[in-house]
């Protein structure tokens, strides 16, 4: 038992590591396309590591990253503010081998339906399927390692190494793995215990055939072998484990239950794996059906009384500008606040920073902090927000401070 745990720790520390250093260019795609059109786009993947990377490519739902200052319209959630277009996107490849220092292109077809209108969004999902070092070492997520190096022409038979006897689970029997290699994995829909979603990115069958057709080079052929072996993993370690524990464990001591619960003597084996995913947003604006518009709906000034240490002669003032997206596509705000004194002289110019995407009907409260002099004075703030495509929202607001720099009006 102790031996196993120590062995497991050593295995974890020494032999598992994920490295993902594939740069995706562009990091975001915004397209204006006519309804009913077909469009081909490409992403460049650059491998900055010294290892071969196998990347799973698929399309997925758009991921929202909302600011804590976003105010959604009542009764709506963001999924109702933007339409998803995952189904419009298809890819020629579902797995891609990127060699060290290599740059590869992923081509996507986007088919816009005839009746499409407004803004749509989806994501390109890049999953790290595995990585294999040139020098025959397994790293990271590589579950059955292989050599892809120029000089390395033989597969590394890790099955012989107890440290690599299993894909996911260190404690799984080596013999079991070999059994499963001879296609004993139960992936049939009747397998009630684990009904595997064959449509998702973990279904490797189509990937392998596609890869065979598309990539003819040597390393790709080896990658195909790797993928075939990884089928074991992708078909799921859990499935392997299911085969290992084919029947629910019956607790002999308790005849009432069909499966045993954990008692002091009973034990659980737990394994965990960390994998990497990169999602790249794709925004589609249907030509002639979207517009950029926004309105500043409020400006407030508030003195901030906190423990933050700033110079003695200054106090902190928070300027909150609320902008509502009244257009029909998302906007990303960037702007300035010019503060003038009563003589009309510019006292300070503040940047609002750049916001996250603000979707239609959503209001965004933009906080900007100003180090305000501790003098009684009257000021005017000119707030200018750039909504994009030469659309500007601007407003002017006056405020005054007392001798402590606190807002009094």
């Amino acid at each position: 038992m102790i031996k196993k745990i120590v062995f497991g720790f050593l295995y974890s520390v020494l032999c598992s590591n994920i490295v993902f250093a594939v740069d995706v260019e562009p990091g975001r795609l915004e397209l204006t396309l006519p309804a009913g059109s077909d469009h081909k786009v490409s992403f460049k993947l650059s491998n900055r590591t010294s290892e071969i990377m196998v990347i799973g490519v698929s399309s997925g739902d758009y991921r929202f990253l909302l600011s804590e200052n976003s105010v959604l319209p009542k009764g709506k959630n963001p999924n109702q503010l933007i339409k998803h277009c995952k189904g419009w996107i298809s890819s020629e490849l579902s797995n891609l081998v990127v060699n060290p220092a290599e740059e590869k292109e992923v081509f996507l077809n986007i088919k816009v339906p005839q009746n499409a209108k407004g803004e749509y969004a989806a994501c390109l999902i890049l999953d790290q399927v595995s990585e294999v070092k040139k020098n025959n070492d397994v790293v990271g997520d590589a579950l059955v390692a292989e050599s892809f190096g120029e000089g390395g022409d033989d597969d590394v038979l890790l099955d012989d190494d107890p440290m690599f006897s299993d894909n996911d689970s260190f404690f799984t029997d080596k013999s079991l793995l070999k059994d499963n290699e001879s296609s004993n994995i139960d992936l049939s829909p009747d397998n009630e215990a684990l009904v595997f979603d064959k449509d998702n990115e973990f279904n490797n069958e189509s990937s392998i055939s596609k890869l065979n057709n598309s990539d003819k080079d040597n390393s790709s052929a080896k990658a195909v072998d790797l993928l075939k072996k990884q089928k074991l993993d992708l078909a799921d370690n859990d499935t392997l484990l299911k085969n290992k524990h084919n029947e629910p464990v019956v607790d002999n001591e308790s005849s009432d239950n069909s499966v045993s619960t954990v008692h002091d003597e009973a034990q659980l084996d737990v394994d965990l794996k960390v994998v990497y995913r990169r999602s790249v947003p794709i925004y589609v604006f249907v030509d002639g059906t979207t517009k950029i518009d926004g309105k500043i709906t409020g400006v407030s000034f508030e003195s901030v009384k906190d423990d933050m240490q700033i110079e003695n002669h200054l106090s902190r003032l928070k300027i909150e500008t609320t902008l509502k997206n009244t257009g029909s596509r998302h906007i990303r705000l960037k702007g300035t606040i010019v503060i003038m004194n009563s003589k009309g002289e510019v006292v300070d110019t503040l940047s609002t920073g750049k916001t996250l995407p603000i979707f239609p009907s959503v209001s965004e409260i933009i906080p900007v902090y100003w180090k305000c002099p501790k003098v009684s004075a009257e000021y005017t703030a000119v707030i200018t927000l750039d909504l994009g495509d030469n659309n500007i929202a601007q407003t002017t607001k006056s405020f005054s401070t007392d001798s402590e720099g606190f807002v009094v009006k």
């Binding site: 993902f20 404690f171 979603d197 619960t261 954990v262 240490q309 700033i310």
Partner: protein
């Protein structure tokens, strides 16, 4: 007599120099400036500054000022002066408003820098000339190569055989990352590194079941049972002032303590489900993708950068010194699980996804 004349002359010259030094600082006014926020290491970078030489500033002011400009880039309290390779001077006439485009070769050391431009008299070699004006950049300059790299080690954890109770895997997963995502305008973009499981996409579920349970966490080998999976990083607390546990000094909070595992008690008199603030527990559940809504709280961001202010997830930068805003890299992530009294024995496994997203 000669000596006296010489002394008077010397004193006059010194007085003139002193007046010039004192007054010269007011001759030029920086109206505005602009520089791109990101640049490649060692690349040439453009800084625009709009200067005004007011006509009524000083009767002694010359008709034309010749000046030289250099940059002071500060990172981690270490300042570097950056000069233009050829000694180039610029002229501005009295009463003129003019924008100058100055180019500098950036240091090769990657990092976040605080920027100051010093404009000095061009009559003497820099940096000894009289300082006319200092322009302090209000936003940081990030020198770096665009990267999207992530490293997690170890990426496979074998918890071994567990008994009933809570168990924290004692070895942290060390997460290193190099995310630098400038857009074409040179602005850094927001990003977040999220953690979740994707069990629902992986398993369609058990046919004909009446009740659908949350499928987050670790899955039993039969596919029918789950065990919760929680994680802790320093980025998520607990607040040492409120929780009494300093994660920096003491590491991960004990899993046995319900205050950290479930959430601090807010009202003892209430039932268990109501008496705790489950949102503030230091150990956070790893959600499943299918359970996550679109709100910020539903997602578990390990770390991220938001471009409102260029600061990081847990900023502690009250003075506005950009160089003090340190990215928590690398950071440690601990995993823990709980085998409750109803847990079914057998083999459990899980796959945690770390997803980088930049909207």
């Amino acid at each position: 007599m000669r000596k006296m004349l010489f002394s008077v002359f010397t004193l006059s010259v010194l007085l003139f120099i002193c007046i010039t030094v004192v007054e010269a600082g007011d001759w030029l006014v920086a109206k505005s400036y602009y520089y791109k926020r990101t640049v490649l290491p060692g690349a040439s970078h453009s800084f625009n500054v709009r200067l005004n030489y007011p006509s009524n500033v000083d009767p002694l002011a010359p008709a034309t000022i010749t000046f030289y400009a250099f940059l002071v880039l500060t990172r981690n309290n270490i300042s570097t002066e950056v000069y233009q390779p050829p000694f180039t001077t610029y002229d501005i006439n009295n009463g003129e408003n003019r924008t100058f485009n100055l180019r500098f070769n950036m240091p090769s050391q990657e990092g976040v820098y605080t920027v100051a431009m010093v404009i000095v008299s061009g009559m003497i070699s820099p940096p000894d000339g009289t300082v006319f004006v200092r322009v302090f950049g209000k936003y940081p300059l990030v020198i770096g190569t665009p990267r999207q790299a992530l490293n997690a080690h170890p990426s496979k954890l074998a918890f071994g055989e567990l008994r009933m109770g809570r168990f924290m895997y004692p070895i942290p997963v060390k997460v290193r990352y190099n995310m630098f995502l400038p857009n074409k305008l040179g602005d850094p973009q927001s990003w977040a590194l999220r953690i979740y499981t994707d069990n629902a996409n992986r398993f369609k579920g058990i046919p004909k079941t009446v009740r659908k349970l949350s499928c987050s966490g670790l899955i039993h080998s039969s596919g029918k049972y789950t065990m919760p999976l929680k994680f802790w990083t320093l980025n998520w607390g607990p607040d040492p002032h409120n929780g009494g546990w300093d994660g920096v000094m003491q590491g991960p909070p004990p899993v046995e303590d319900d205050d950290f595992w479930k959430g601090p008690e807010i009202d003892e008199s209430r039932k268990e489900k109501e008496k705790r603030d489950f949102e503030r527990g230091a150990w956070l559940s790893v959600p499943d993708y299918s359970n996550m809504g679109v709100g910020r709280d539903a997602w578990r961001s390990l770390v991220g950068v938001f471009t409102y202010d260029g600061q990081y997830l847990n900023p502690l930068n009250p003075t506005g010194d950009f160089t003090l805003t340190q990215q928590p890299d690398p950071f440690d992530m601990f995993f823990a699980t709980e085998a409750g009294s109803t847990a079914v024995k057998g083999q459990y496994s899980g796959r945690v996804i770390l997803e980088l997203f930049s909207p």
